[in-house]
C-alpha cells in the first residue's frame, strides 16, 4: 500500500500549505473586520448618533457599561485573532519550505520561535481576559480561569523543535560545504 509522501510537491505538506493559505486569508479578513468594528465601536461610544450605534447596546446595562463590554470583547478578539494570524503566517512559510523539500531552511528556526511566542501570546490574552473580567459586569464576565498545562507544554515543545531545526540547518550548511 503506497504511503503518502510528507515532503515535496504533491505531498501532505503541500496539502496542508493549501489549507493554511485558506485559513490565513480567512483570518486576515476576520482581523480587518474586527479592527474596523473596534474602531467604529470606539467612535460610536463617544457619539451615540452614529448609524447602528443604538443596536450594539445591551439591554439592562447603561450605555457606558454596554460599550465597555462590546469594546472589551472586540479588543480581545482582535488580540486573539492577531496572535492566531501570526502563528498561521509562520506555519504557512514553514510549510512552503516543506513543500519545496527543504525542511531545514535556516529561517524556519525564527518561524518556529514566532509560533511559540504566538501560542504564549494566546495564553497570556486568555489570562488578561480573566483578570479584566472582574472589572466587567457579571453578565459579560468570561468563564472561570483555568491554567492549561497542555498549552504551556506545547509551547515548550515548539521551542525545543526550533532548536532541533537550528541544529538541522547547521548540519545542512556543513553538508553543503563538504566537498
Amino acid at each position: 500500500m503506497p504511503i503518502m509522501r510528507t515532503l515535496g510537491p504533491g505531498s501532505l505538506s503541500s496539502f496542508m500549505k493549501a489549507v493554511l493559505d485558506v485559513v490565513w486569508v480567512f483570518l486576515l479578513v476576520t482581523l480587518a473586520v474586527l479592527a474596523a468594528g473596534l474602531l467604529y465601536g470606539v467612535l460610536a461610544a463617544f457619539n451615540p448618533d452614529m448609524p447602528f450605534a443604538q443596536q450594539v447596546r445591551y439591554d439592562g446595562l447603561d450605555r457606558l457599561q454596554a460599550w465597555a463590554v462590546v469594546l472589551a470583547r472586540m479588543g480581545t478578539a482582535v488580540l486573539f485573532v492577531g496572535g492566531v494570524l501570526a502563528i498561521v503566517s509562520s506555519l504557512r512559510r514553514i510549510f512552503a519550505t516543506l513543500k519545496a523539500g527543504d525542511p531545514f531552511h535556516p529561517d524556519n528556526v525564527t518561524r518556529l520561535r514566532v509560533v511559540a511566542v504566538g501560542l504564549a501570546w494566546l495564553e497570556m490574552v486568555r489570562y488578561a481576559v480573566w483578570t479584566l473580567g472582574a472589572l466587567l459586569p457579571p453578565q459579560a464576565a468570561p468563564d472561570r480561569p483555568n491554567l492549561s498545562l497542555t498549552a504551556w507544554f506545547s509551547i515548550l515543545v515548539v521551542v525545543v523543535l526550533a532548536e532541533v531545526f537550528r541544529e538541522g540547518a547547521r548540519l545542512r550548511r556543513e553538508a553543503e560545504l563538504t566537498i
Binding site: 560545504l177 563538504t178 566537498i179
Partner: protein
C-alpha cells in the same frame, strides 16, 4: 581554518585548469572553486582520492596545517 589547501599551486605545477580537473575528477567546478578559495568545511576521502589521483600527488602535498 588552520588547514589550507594548495589546489591553485598544484594546478599551476601540473599546468592544469580548474575545468580540466573538474572533467577528470567529476567534481563540479563550483565545488573545486570552494576548495580553492578555502571555504570548504570538510573533505571526503573520495574527493581526496580523486584529487590525488589526477594531480599525481600525496594528501600532504595538497594541504598543510598552520596553527
Amino acid at each position: 581554518m588552520p588547514v589550507r589547501l594548495h589546489l591553485d599551486r598544484l594546478l599551476v605545477a601540473r599546468r592544469m585548469s580548474l575545468e580540466e580537473l573538474s572533467d577528470r575528477t567529476g567534481i563540479s567546478a563550483a565545488n573545486l572553486a570552494i576548495l580553492k578559495a578555502g571555504d570548504a568545511r570538510a573533505l571526503r576521502f573520495s574527493t581526496l582520492d580523486a584529487l590525488c589521483r589526477e594531480l599525481a600527488c600525496q594528501p600532504a602535498d595538497l594541504m598543510t596545517w598552520e596553527p
